[in-house]
Symmetry: C2
Subunit: 108 residues, 2 copies
């Protein structure tokens, strides 16, 4: 079953940052990873993905650099900054708080 995007909205930044906490990565790979991890239940649309990268870079949560592939299509890698790491940890707490609040309100 597919996940309604309005339930995910606002979580895309954290999801991407969570990936970058592990290692530098690039858009296409991150999206594949999301799709795999959720058994196809969820995947970001490309337009959304690159919009979020742009936003996170403007916020200085991530920086980007071109991979030196001489073979395949060029990849733009993203790296999380110290600010981004801090933001990720805080956002995760906020997310948990929000889930608790909503769960209480809808009586789960």
């Amino acid at each position: 079953m597919l996940i309604a995007s309005d339930f995910i909205r606002g979580s895309t930044e954290i999801i991407i940052l969570a990936h970058l906490m592990k290692e530098d990565s690039y858009g296409y790979k991150i999206n594949k990873s999301i799709s795999d991890k959720t058994n196809g239940q969820y995947e970001l649309k490309e337009a959304t993905l690159y919009t979020v990268f742009k936003r996170l870079e403007d916020m200085e949560m991530i920086v980007s650099y071109w991979g030196d592939e001489n073979k395949a299509a060029r990849r733009r890698y993203y790296k999380i900054t110290d600010l981004g790491k801090k933001f990720y940890e805080e956002s995760k707490k906020e997310w948990e708080d929000a889930q608790n609040v909503i769960a209480q309100l809808i009586e789960i």
Copy 2:
């Protein structure tokens, strides 16, 4: 701490329907209840609240009627329909699924 509204987005309908599952109610009271239940961590803005009522009524999830108060300010009461009850139960399941998916993606 206040809850970021993007974490709530998409949950407002369920939150309101959850209240109406208990009993018919009106906007002001529902919002007070939300504020009380969350110890002030969250409250819907009035514009949002009435927008959601409008949307739910258009979707035939709820119906409304004027209260017969002869004393205080007039109240518009809302009642959940059978369709609304069904929608509520389904949405709750979807919400839980979405939370599990996100939790997995951000490694909680």
